[in-house]
Subunit: 260 residues, 2 copies
């Protein structure tokens, strides 16, 4: 079988690219297996901070793509690594769920439930409430705490619709504190892409990013000089005018088309 | 005793003007009593939707200013009355606390706890959480629900600091829904002031507004042609450069100075 592009590194977005909800997209398992058999390096990318890397690896393995946790890069691990560079071991308050909190603790941060912190970490958080918003405000008022967020998404697609994502929590904290988030690590930030490249141990020019969202996957890939593949199996339609504008290296109906 | 201005109607902001927390400001009871004894009409104005008009009347009475509920105008009653003009009896979802919900029910609205509504009412809500944010999003997605808010305040002063106010809830809903709030009824909107003028049954030019905030009380009074009195007993300092710019009719240390 022929592989569509010669690059050594392959980054795959997950939802809409590799699977849709609980079902693999056609040809996903075969394509990943063929890339690996040919000696290519593969990793998976997600903006969601709701699960651990191990959760994603387990899901992929269960669906038929055997994957280790170290082959997954999501916004929780990226945030933890980025903050480690900025302020290692800092006391932080987290607007986020357990997997993100666990990731931060594992990276040596002092996760507190009060305002005595140097950072407020803001994420997609289905347990967000007024008390957390107030703690974030007090952290900024009393300690001029800095704000960092996992991902910029307005909503998250779910079966039958969409639910509020990280942008809601970010907007609330910014509005009451009068302070802006200084870093958002998830797609389309180059921060998450750089962590993924480090994971693969390949250079950007020797790497492909495959995704279904022009405004994140393709924009981010172009900015860092990766080859880009837009799949039409997710959110983007084939008649989207941005396709001509952004000019991905390949536009294919789905992941299966990467094998000739 | 001489009264500083000849106007028939007198509107008083509450916190920082008539009282501070649980204590009347010096001369407040005497000044209000003198105005009433002279046949002037008095009402009290607040942006807070956390209490009913009866609650405010009871507090003022307890502190020494006998007041009826119909002499108080706050953002809950104003929102209910304004929405009654726009869409009487409409199904609404409320991001807000019990007093606001009670006010809306009394005004004939169908207050629902799901997304099957034409309006999302957004207020200062200490019980705000992700579930409410999600219901607001679904109301916009499914029914193109319109957004209306009680007040624009970023934070609310409390003893020893400040806590998140309505702007936090508004920003979160706007960010996830992609839709803007179309009306904010509280100060500095002319909507709350018009309700207050109706309550007093006086014309704007025959009315004075007395308050401690330039950007709400004074700006709003000027816009509608009321006489304006800035008291320096609250948030505004005497050296604030906006005083010269806005030129209130009177600037006084406190409410007591309204009596000669």
């Amino acid at each position: 079988m022929r592989i569509a592009l010669p690059h050594r590194g392959w980054l795959f977005d997950l939802d809409g690219t590799v699977y849709l909800g609980e079902a693999l997209l056609p040809g996903a398992a075969e394509t990943i297996a063929a890339l690996r058999a040919d000696g290519r390096r593969v990793a998976f990318l997600s903006n969601k901070p709701l699960f651990t890397r191990a959760d994603y690896a387990e899901k992929l393995t269960r669906l038929g793509i055997p994957t280790g946790a170290d082959e997954v890069v999501n916004s929780s691990i990226v945030l933890a690594r980025h903050l480690q560079k900025l302020d290692p071991g800092a006391p932080v308050f987290v607007i986020g769920e357990a997997p993100l909190i666990g990731e931060l603790r594992e990276h040596g941060f002092e996760v507190r439930d009060d305002a005595e912190v140097r950072w407020v970490v803001i994420a997609f958080d289905r347990t967000f409430d007024y008390a957390k918003l107030n703690t974030a405000l007090q952290a900024v008022r009393r300690h001029d705490a800095r704000l960092i967020a996992t991902n910029p998404d307005r909503t998250c697609p779910v079966e039958g619709g969409e639910i509020p994502d990280c942008a809601g929590m970010t907007a609330a904290v910014e509005a009451v504190s009068g302070k802006q988030v200084e870093v958002v690590v998830g797609k389309p930030s180059s921060i998450i892409l750089q962590v993924a490249l480090d994971t693969l141990a390949v250079e950007a020019r020797d790497c492909v990013i495959v995704g279904d969202r022009i405004e994140t996957d393709i924009v981010m890939g172009k900015r860092l000089g990766l080859a880009t593949v837009l799949v039409l199996s997710g959110i983007t339609r084939g008649d989207d005018p941005r396709i001509a504008e952004l000019a991905p290296d390949l536009v294919v109906p789905g992941i299966r088309a990467l094998l000739g």
